[in-house]
């Protein structure tokens, strides 16, 4: 199994990764190698095997519905390059 340059461009776009022309061929080749390696798993017989949701054979613990986290606005905004009126500022997005 191989992956096309076009696939890589699309995945890079979805992951918001900038891959330029020079590295595109190399990335396509190395991603293809990874896929070929993983693809060997396709040969395993999985008939009757239930898909695994988690490698640990354990059950999710639940927490009580209690508010334990209070206003942390100041600390949270400290990490952001730009803020205003308590908001994070990001480049304009309109969908």
């Amino acid at each position: 199994m191989t992956i096309s340059r076009h696939d890589v461009e699309q995945i890079a776009h979805l992951a918001r990764l900038a891959i330029n022309e020079e590295t595109l061929n190399e990335t396509t080749r190395s991603l293809g190698d990874v896929l070929n390696l993983v693809n060997q798993l396709q040969n395993a017989d999985t008939d009757g095997v239930e898909p695994m949701a988690h490698p640990m054979d354990a059950v999710q613990r639940l927490r009580e519905d209690v508010v334990t986290e209070h206003n942390q606005q100041e600390q949270l905004l400290k990490n952001a390059p730009l803020t205003e009126q308590g908001l994070f500022l990001v480049p304009r997005v309109v969908d």
Binding site: L14, V59, L76, V93
Partner: protein, 478 residues
């Protein structure tokens, strides 16, 4: 050509938990920006989500209310996409193994009952909010809502008209508010609706190409948006065109739907099981316990109202659509011991006043006890039905209690036969022509003509004369 509309709805309901689905931050609405977010909501490194037990209980109760199979094992997955108000770069949701499996609800429309299937309902977290107001050409991000628990309820494409879609939505609204798992307030985004709409020639089995309508935030807009989109699709098809499968935004101001900037690449969300969360396992004992705590649901309450209070199907349906309204009615009815009069007043005068003032039943200025007392005063002939409306208005305006208003404004019904007789005599004396006409008229026409005299007496007495006594005296004297 005859066209048939096909509609499926995806309804997002915010669960009324105190804290978020995976963190201990508050979910209260309307707080100052970013004061109700924490490290887990922001997916800062080193944090781990833990599932809120109450969100699980609420989703389970919804599943039981729609007669669905509850997922004894449900699995959270990551849905990956980039958007600034989604701080993690993925939304934690459920896909292959949701908590609520296939179920159904019944809607009642134009005297008919229709069963609508629900494909499944799953738990997920809400995103934050993007604010596009003027921030020097930038976008502001408020993450208070990020991580608020939602259930997404996905219907089968079983609806055939905008009216059915609204009836479905109202039924969902009534179930979630009866269960108390959400306030269901569409204006605050507690309940949101996306509609998948397509049309096909009547009789064709195959579905037409659908579009998805987003941003519909009231019952009225759901109906309008679907009507508008159906017309648009029919116009295109009748002109020989083709429908493009796309997401469209409903613009309530212009009453039109428009294409959202279509993405060059179809969205591939690259779902995979959330490695930070283990499967949630529910046992039979837990499900039984939730089942035992279910309140009386709208369908059951409606049946009980029909049997216990001898209400019509129509009246019972209206009164039970909303739990608060149903409770209010029952309290009025218990107080005045007359279910029919209670139903008439709650659906008539009270509902009209609530609508006119855009007030929810929970905030009615006239309490259930006051309305019950008012009806008692009609029943014991203290006031007439007509005067009662005047007292109701006074109650609405906060002018005091029923008996106090009747007394202060002198509204007691006049039942003193002497006083009524004097009025009857006066009216007869001052309308000789009508009296003569009445006496010469055949018996079957007299009933109508009597109305004139009754009206005159009511005018003199300002509506306070006991109508039964007026009638009796008039008949005797004419």
């Amino acid at each position: 050509m005859q066209w048939e509309t096909v509609i499926g709805l995806e309804v997002h309901v915010q669960l009324a938990t105190k804290s978020k689905i995976f963190s201990g931050a508050s979910t209260a609405f309307g707080a100052t920006a970013n004061t109700q977010a924490c490290a887990i909501d922001l997916a800062l490194p080193g944090t781990l989500p833990v599932v809120n037990a109450e969100a699980i209980r609420m989703a389970t109760s919804f599943g039981l209310a729609i007669n669905a199979e509850i997922g004894k094992k449900s699995v959270f997955e990551r849905k990956n996409y980039f958007y600034p108000d989604l701080p993690k770069g993925y939304q934690v949701t459920q896909l292959a193994e949701p908590i609520v499996g296939a179920g159904h609800i019944d809607i009642h429309l134009n005297g008919e009952t229709k069963r609508l299937r629900i494909h499944h309902a799953h738990l997920e977290e809400d995103a934050g909010k993007s604010l596009h107001e003027d921030f020097h050409g930038m976008t502001g991000i408020d993450l208070n809502r990020a991580g608020t628990p939602l259930i997404e309820i996905v219907s089968e494409p079983d609806m055939r008209s905008a009216e059915e879609a609204v009836a479905y939505l109202k039924k969902i609204h009534s179930i979630i508010t009866y269960l108390g798992i959400s306030d269901g307030d569409m204006s605050q985004g507690s309940m949101r609706c996306d509609a998948n709409v397509s049309v096909r020639p009547k009789g064709q089995a195959e579905l037409g190409t659908r579009t998805e309508l987003k941003n519909i935030n009231s019952f009225r807009f759901v109906e309008k948006a679907i009507h508008t989109e159906v017309e648009r699709q029919i116009d295109i098809l009748e002109d020989g065109g083709k429908i493009v499968q796309e997401t469209r935004l409903y613009d309530a101001e212009k009453n039109e739907t428009r294409s959202m900037r279509s993405k060059e690449v179809a969205n591939d969300y690259r779902y995979f099981p959330e490695p930070d969360l283990l499967p949630v396992i529910l046992d039979e004992a837990f499900i039984d316990q939730v089942r035992k705590q279910l309140p009386e649901l709208p369908e059951a309450k409606c049946q009980r109202f029909i049997e216990q209070y001898q209400l019509s199907d129509y009246d019972a349906n209206i009164l039970t659509a909303n739990r608060a309204l149903a409770d209010y009615f029952e309290n009025v009815s218990t107080h005045c011991k007359d279910a029919k009069l209670a139903a008439n007043w709650v659906m008539g005068e009270l509902s009209a006043a609530l609508n006119k003032n855009d007030t929810a039943i929970e905030h009615s200025p006239v309490s259930d006890r006051q309305l019950g007392e008012l009806i008692l005063r009609i029943k014991d002939n203290t006031i007439s039905g007509k005067i009662a409306k005047q007292v109701f208005d006074a109650l609405w305006q906060g002018q005091g209690e029923v008996d106090q208003i009747i007394k202060e404004q002198g509204l007691e019904q006049v039942s003193d036969s002497g006083a009524i007789e004097a009025m009857v005599d006066k009216v007869i004396a001052s309308n000789p022509q009508q009296v003569e006409n009445y006496r010469n008229a055949p018996a079957e026409k007299r009933g109508k003509m009597l109305g004139f005299f009754v009206g005159q007496i009511m005018k003199i007495s300002q509506g306070k004369a006991n109508p039964q006594q007026v009638n009796e005296l008039l008949l005797k004297k004419l």
